[in-house]
Symmetry: D4
Subunit: 157 residues, 8 copies
C-alpha cells in the first residue's frame, strides 16, 4: 500500500473475504491508485461502519468499494452515509447460488444507489473505481485506454 | 395507540409500507400490547435508524419489528445496534417474487440474528412479538392460548 | 448439558443435522442458558413431534429451536402446537441452493409464526433464543451487551 | 357429494383454496368416485389435521388429496400419519412464483413421500387419485381409457 | 429381481441414473414387490419409451416409476400413454440446483398427472409405489404399518 | 396460410397458445415462407405428436416450431423423432416466472437439441426458422438483410 | 434538455423504456447536469450502439447510463467500447421476476465492469451518475449533501 | 480442423471455455462438417467480435456457435450483426446455478433470435448446427438418420 493518501477505500464484511478482495488491490496497484483496505462488519461493527462512511469524504477518499456476503448490507450502509460513489461486491456465501448477496447489494431503494458489480468480482470493482477517479485525470484515462487495448490482446485479469 | 410505554417498536422503511403494517397493529391492539409505529429508512435516514436502535432498550422497548422491501436492510441495522430481539418483515417490492427482500432480511451473518417471518407477514411478526413478551407474562400467555384456540375454530387473521 | 431445567429445546429433523446444530449448543453454553437437544423428525416421528411441542410449555421450556432440511416442516409443527416462540433453522439439504428449506420454514400462514434465521445459522438461532429469554433477565442482558462488544472487537462466532 | 363412503379425502389449508379445489371435485364426480372435502389447516388446526390423517385409513379413505400454499405442510402432515398415498397440491400464495408451496410440498424426507402435482393443479390431483383407486377396479380403468381417448380428441379439463 | 410378474416398472433416462435408482430397488425388495428396471431415454429412444408406456398396463404393471434429469420428460411421456399412475423422480443433473428436472417433471398440463417426489428421491418413489399397490392388498398395508413404526423408531432409509 | 407445401410446421400444446403464436405467422407471411399451424398436445395427444414429428421430414417440412408451457415437452418430443431442426418456444403458463417452461424446453440431454428462443418469443422463433431455411436460398437471405436493415431503422416486430 | 454539452448519455434499448427512464432525467435536471437521451438497441442497431460507445468519450460524455430488459446487453456493449464508467439499469421485461435483466447486466466478465443499479431504478442510476461527476466538482458535491439532507427529511424520489 | 472452408464458426468468450467446447468439435468431426474455433470475448474484444460476425456470411460460414458464461453476450453480439443462424451455448460460470448465462443467452429481444441449447451443451450445439446445414444436404441428412439410430441403440455423446 502506497504512502499516498488513499483515494479508494476497500471495506469488507469479514476477514474471510480478504483472499477474494486481493484481486481489487492488484488492479489498483497496477493503475497506481492509492487505496486502503479494512475489515468492517456492518452488523458486528455498526459504529465503525457508520464512522467510516461518514468520514470517508473528508479523509479524501473518492470511491468506496464494499464487499460482503449473504444479507450483504455493507455497501448499503456506506452509501447511506456518504455522497461518494459506493461500489458493491456481492460475495458468494455458499447458499442460494449467491443470489442473496447480489439482491441485498443491488436492490437499493430510490435515493441511495450502490454501483453493483458481479458476484465475487473484486477485479471489476477496482476497474470501475479507476474509471470513476479517471473522470478528471487524463493520465489515468490514458492508462485505462492502454489497459483496454491489452485486454483486447488477451490480457487476463 | 395506547398511552402506556410502548413495548414493541414497529419501524418500516417507507410510508408506503404502512397499509401492510396495519395488520401488525391490529394484532398488538387485540393483545393489549402497547406499541409505537415509525417510518425510518435505513438508507435515507441512517442517523435516525442508528439512534432508534441504540436507544430502543433504554426507552423500554422489548421487541422491534422492522419491515422493508428490496435490499431490506432495516431489520439488520436494528439488530446491529441492540440486544433486543428484532423481527424482520420482508416486504414484496414488486420484483424477483419478493426473494430480494426475504434474502436481505434473513441471511444475516453469524452473531447478529434477525427473526424473519414470511413475505408481507405483518400479522405473524406481531404474534411473534407477543409470544416473546409473554415469556414472563402469564396473562399474555393465557391470551395466546385463547387465540390459538380461536384459530383452531376458524378465526381469520 | 447442565442439570438445570432446560429453557431452550433444540430439536432437529435428522441425526445428520447434529454437527451443524452444535454451533447452537456452543452459544447456549457460553451464555449459561440450559438446554436440551433431541432428534425428532416431523415426518417420521409425528407423534413425538406432536407431543414434544404440546408439552414444551409445561415442561418449562421458554423457546424452541427447530432445524430441518428440504420440505422443512419441523419448526412449523412445533409452532402449531405451542404458544412459545419457535425459531426455525433451515438446513441446506443439497438441492435448490437451500431455497427449499428456507421457504418451507419462513413462509408460514397467518396466525402461526416461525422466527426464521439464515440457512444453516444455528449460531444465530441460539443468540436469538438468548435475546428472547433475556427479556426479563438483567444478567443475561448484560452478557448480551458484552457479547455485542466482543463481536465489535473481532470475536468470531 | 355422494352418500357413498368417500374414497378420496380432499383437505385444504384454507377456505380460500376452495374455488381452486372445485376442479378436483368436478373430476371425481365425473368418474363417480365418492369423496369428501374439508378445510383443515395444518398450522391453525394441528389436532384436527393429526386426527384426520390418523383415522383416514380406518374410515375407508383410499387416497388423500392435500392442498396448501406458501410453507405448505398439510400434505406432509397427512403423509406422516397414514400409510395411504397422499397427493399434494401446491397452491400459489402470491409470492416467489409459487416456488415456496412447490418446494414445501415435494421435497419430503426419505421415508415419507408426497405425490406432488403441479402448482394449483387440483384437476391432476383428482385424476391421479382415480388412477390409484383404479388399480384393482376394471370399471374405473375403462373410464380412464375413455377419458384419455376424449383428451386426445380435444376434451378440455 | 424376483421371477414374479413385475408390478412396478422402473425406467430411467440414462444409465448414469442407475446408482441413484438402486435406492428404489432396495425398498421394493424389502416389501417383496416384484419390479423390473430399464434404461430408456425419452429423447434418444422415443420408440421404446412410447412402446413401453403403451404396453405397461397389459403387461401387468401397476405403477411406473420414471427418473430423469434436466429437461426431464420421461415421466411425462409415460403418463401420456398409460392410465397407470406414473411416479416421477427428478434427477439433479448438475445445474440450476435441480430446479430444471423438478419443474419439467411436476408442472404437467391438466389431464395428465405425474406423481412427483423430491429431487433424487428414489426411495420415496418406491414407497409411494408400494402405498399405491397396497390399496387392495391387506398384507402390504400391514407391512407399510410396520415400516412406519420402524421409521418412528429411527430406521434410516 | 399459402397453398404451397409448408416448409415450417408450427405446433403448439394448447389452443390457448394461438394468440401468442400468431406473431410467428406474421413473420413467416412477411418473408413468404409457407407454413402450417396445428394444436397438438404432447401429453394429451401423444400419438398425434409422435406421428407428426416422424412424418415431418417426408412431408417436406424443413423446420418445426414447437410452443408449450409449464412442463413444456412438445419441442422435446418433436426433436426426439425427427432430424429436422426443432425450435422451442417456452410459453409462460402463469407460475414460476416462466422458468418452468424455459427449463423444460432448453435443458435437453446430449444428442437431441432444441433450439430454444426466449419466453413467449414466437416472433424470434419464426425469424430463426427463416434464417435456417435461408441457408441455401439467396432470395430469402436478401430479404433477411433488408429486414435487419429495417430493424436498425426502428421497425417494430 | 439543456443546450450545454451533455455529460451524461442515457441510452435505452427500446422506446418502451422511455417512461421508466424519465425518472433519471428528473434527477439530472434537478442537479443541473446536462444530458442527452437516445433509444439505441444493442441487438437491432449494433452499429449505432458500437459507434455511440466509441465516440462517447471524445464527445465529452463523462458517464453513460444504459437501460435494457431481458437479455440486457446494452450496458455491456457500451462498457466494451469505452473507458467511461457505464451504469446499467436492468429493466423488468415481464418474465422471471426481472432476474434475466439483472443477471445480464451485472454478471460482466473480468475486465469490463458495469455499475449496476436495482431493477427499473432509473432514479438511482442518475444519482450515481451525479456522484461520479461530482468527484472533482465541489458545487455538485454540495448539492448532493443537500439532497441527502432532504432525503433524510422525507423527500420522495 | 479440415482444410475445407469452414461452415461452422465456433466462438467462445474465454480460453477457459475450450475444454467444454471440444465436445462440439468432436461432433462436427464425426459428421465431416468443416469448422473453425476462435476465442473472442464480446466484452474484451468488441472490435473482433463485431468484425467476425459481420464477415461471417461472406466468409462462407453457414452457422455460428457462440459460447459464453455469466452475462453471456457473445451469441447476442453475433446475432446482432449477421443473418446467419446463431446457436448460443450458456456456459456455467460458477454462480446462480448457471441461470445467469442461460437468461443472458436466451432472452433476446424481438427481431434478433439466438438458438439456445442447454447449459454447457456444446454437443447439442454442434448437432443443431449439423441439422441446419443438412437442410439441403441429403448426405448429411442420411448421416443424421444413422446418428439418431445409433443414439436409440445406446450411443453415448
Amino acid at each position: 500500500m502506497a504512502i499516498q493518501t488513499p483515494l479508494v477505500g476497500i471495506v469488507m464484511g469479514s476477514a474471510s473475504d480478504q483472499p477474494k478482495m486481493q484481486a481489487a488491490e492488484i488492479i489498483l496497484d497496477r493503475f497506481g491508485v492509492p487505496y486502503e483496505s479494512n475489515v468492517i462488519s456492518a452488523h458486528r461493527q455498526p459504529e465503525q461502519a457508520h464512522e467510516y462512511s461518514k468520514l470517508a469524504e473528508e479523509r479524501g477518499l473518492e470511491v468506496i468499494i464494499a464487499a460482503a456476503g449473504r444479507a450483504a448490507h455493507l455497501a448499503g450502509v456506506m452509501a447511506a452515509n456518504t455522497i461518494l460513489p459506493v461500489i458493491g461486491v456481492p460475495v458468494h456465501g455458499g447458499h442460494l447460488g449467491g443470489a442473496d448477496s447480489l439482491y441485498s447489494t443491488v436492490q437499493m431503494p430510490s435515493g441511495v444507489p450502490v454501483a453493483t458489480v458481479g458476484i465475487d468480482q473484486a477485479t471489476n470493482a477496482a476497474i470501475l473505481a479507476v474509471q470513476i477517479i479517471a473522470c478528471h485525470n487524463p493520465e489515468l484515462r490514458e492508462k485505462l485506454r492502454s489497459f483496454k487495448q491489452e485486454l483486447s490482446q488477451g490480457l487476463k485479469v
